[in-house]
Amino acid sequence: MKRNVLHISAAFFLLSLFLTGCMNDNAWIDAHRQGQSDQLLSDAGVFIVNEGNFMSGNATLSFYDKATGKTSNNLFYSTNGLPLGDVGESMSILDSLGYIAINNSGKIYVINTETGKYSGKITGLTSPRYIHFVSKQKAYVTDLYASAITIFNPVTFQVTGNIPTPGHASTEQMVQIGHTLYVTCWSADNTILKIDTENDSVTGEIKVGTQPKSMVKDKNNQLWVLCDGSFGGTTSGGQAELQQVNPETGQIEKSFALNSDNIASDLTINAARDTLCFINNDVWQMPVTASQLPAAPVLKNPGTIYYSLGVDPDNSDIYVSDAIDYLQRGLVYRLTAKGVPVDTLKTGIIPGFFCFKQ
């Protein structure tokens, strides 16, 4: 009988020996770091910020070489051994540095656009959206919740102040004409704020359609704004509209009603700044002089959802993304300005923003 007791104890002992730890997190992290290669990223290329899934922290950065057609995915992680963060929102380039706003991580990562290597970061932000460089020493970041635009120094990566935007929690895209910066106030708002870039203060506002999100300026320095029509919360929402706004007078010069059943988003403009491009189920192109919406889209939707759009400021090539089911690496279609397919690339989860290296 004693032998059995011994056996049982031995079994327990063996059990504990066999069932040892196996989850080597360090080995895992190391195995996926591909080391800092001394690759050089082409001068003519496109950075694609892949949002990743909200609360999963799997945003990634891709780089597409326009000449060779080669795509480097997961560039930031593989070069720097750190994930980009949660919800990659946008990217802007100043000289040789690329600034990537990571919305739900409250930070901006700065990389060298030649190598993809980490150069620094701006932390302590609330919910950063878009970055605009006023000068080589001054940049603005809009925010989804902060009711303020944060000012930082793109050289020192230090936050230097903020511009309060009372009554407007969500600030979105920025366009500068002269010394005046125009900012769309998107979520549950209908305003374009005017900011004096000399003394960093709000000087006025323009009321537009419901939820103005994206905005561009055309060759005549007229503002074009795309209002998605949905009031963040309500499914009923309002009317999706494309509006031309005179920045001087604040007058809405033209207003085109879009199909509100489908998502209207991603207003962009071509290299010559005379043709608009946007998503409203299909991809549409419209001359800034047009008096009505075009009859046919430049790219018909084959039954998918076009997630985001970018137009090459160099040659007006159109880049449209398709997130497929949002839970796998998405696609980017590259087309000429005339809508002729050029290339198709696979990037990361939810390709959401295009940043052209010039």
């Binding site: 504990s16 195995a31 302590g124 796998q328 696609l331």
Partner: protein, 686 residues
Amino acid sequence: MPTKPEPDIQAPRFCIGFMKRLPLLLLLLIPFCQELRAQSLSDTLKIKEVRVVSKHLQKKEEAGLIRSDVDSIAMIKALNATLSELISENTPIFIKTYGRGALATASFRGTAPSHTQVEWNGISLNSPMLGMVDFSTIPVYFIDKVSILHGSGSLTEKSGALGGTINLQSDVDWSNHFSGSVLSGVGSYRSYDEFFQVKAGNRKIQSKTKAFLSQSANDFPYRNKFIATIDPKTGKYIYPKQRNKNADYRNYGILQEIYIRPDDKDVISGHYWYQHNSRSIPQLMTNETSGDGGVNRQTDQIHRAVAEWNHYSNKTTLKVSSGLNFDKMNYWLRANVNGTSGQVVVDSWSNAQSWFNKALFTYRESEDFSATAGIDVDRYQVRSQNYAPLANNYGYHKTRLESSAHLQVSKKFGKRFTSTFLVRQDFYDSQAAPIMPLLGLEYKLLANGNLYLKGNVARNYHQPSLNDLYYIPGGNPDLKPEEGYTGDLGLTWEKSYTHLHLYTTLTAYSSKIDNWIIWLPTNKGYWEPSNMKKVDASGLEYQLSLEGDEGPWHWHLNGNYAYTRSINRDDPVNWADQSIGKQLPFIPKHSANLSANLSRQGYHLTYQWNYYSERYTTTSNEKTTSLDYLYPYFMNDLFAGKDWNWKTYRLGVELKIFNLFNEEYRTVLQRPMPRRNYSLLVRFDF
């Protein structure tokens, strides 16, 4: 840039090697058992029968259905734990947990969290808004028995449980006069658990009062490998040492139960459960916002009440019950606004009120034939409101009336063959759902041995939750119900030797689920649900339970293994869609647990082991980067304790060691988990 198609990972390979060795361990133990038996037979003087109640009685009403009960030893070991730990360590159900004390949802047989129904004394604990249950908020202490209906077996209770139903039951002991228990625990990270119960009564009336408080600062330290300071000269990474900030929780509750037996034909019971949960959900490890940005808090105030009347007569049983489940929830999120830290930017309130009514009538013609008819009328009301600081408030207010009628006939043919047939018809408001039938067949393969062959087939429907339909923004009122076809085939073997009891069961299942509801992001800035997927979920479930005595020693071994293939069989979204034919994200293919318990004269030792194979985070099952999948999970816990008995009193002390090997690990992408941690429990029973 060169990208390696297959990352070279040493650690998981080692683990796979180890997995192969696991069955060996089980084999290791078996010779001892046989030896035990041989010896005891020759040594009749020392025979001490193993007191085990048979786990499988061939009830015709459960013919062919797969039911498993959580072991009573496991329940005792988990007294101070939540249902999340009890289920993940003792059943084949996979629990996805977002961290210590954080949200824990179930995936039963490869299905979604809303496909597992949790019933407490006949009322549903699933949120009518979300459809799912947070297992981390249910204290095991408030439950006497946990019974699990796998797959189609759940149709006997309710429709919609495409994965299965977890039944939480209360027991009554009519022989009790006055007894009670105090359990007090102190653990790592300033964790305190207090439990108290008192039972009083006689053969006619019994009262049971339980209360608990469970709180933790939960601020365990960890090394954050997802952010780093990179030395510009050496390129060296300095990972910050951080604490799991804003993860504290404090849950408490009280349970009052009254049982009355006016005569030997009637039992009336009343149950009331109040619970308050409050916790914060920590930010992801990549978060680098400042101050109180991103801090949040979720508070629940829950009232549950059930009144039940059971009437027994010679040939019939009538059960009538009515119950309420009121859950008032608040969630707020703070951000740095205008340079000021910690301003509320999201403030959501919801008030879900569910009312359940049930009548069940059973007629037993003879040992060989019974029929049951049941009616359920449930009403759900949800008021969901979001207060936006600078905009109009938005939300929804909806009610839904769900009624269900079912009829079940069960027949035994001869001594060895049992069968049951059930039809269920549901109504949603005034709309009829398609008929749901269930057929179960069971055959005792050996005349003198307890070896059973079981099988069943069923059709089931799961209605969209109220958030799926009406949530603002995103809710889609055009959603169709999820439709499932399930079949099970299983073998159960039970055998009692003089000093050993063996119970083992192997089940293969296959289910096809159409119109699987999934929430996906849109470029409107919010998520929307749609009937996206066709899913084939199939797999194997294996359970082994061995229990034996040897002299003063008592030992118990319980293990589960599940093989789960939950495959997306939808049409591709487009030509590039790589998700077809792939495993659904976050569902492990292999999962297993093993718990070994040894006790002798008041001393007891428990070893718990839990394993999940890797989980993909994408629908395309890629393994290109470390963000695409999670490494296999292995967890080891060790509990040791001693009980002292004096007259009718008992004092017990137990030390629990969690994460025995002090592993640094994660179970979801960017949520840290604690290293080795401890809990000391003192228990006094009177």
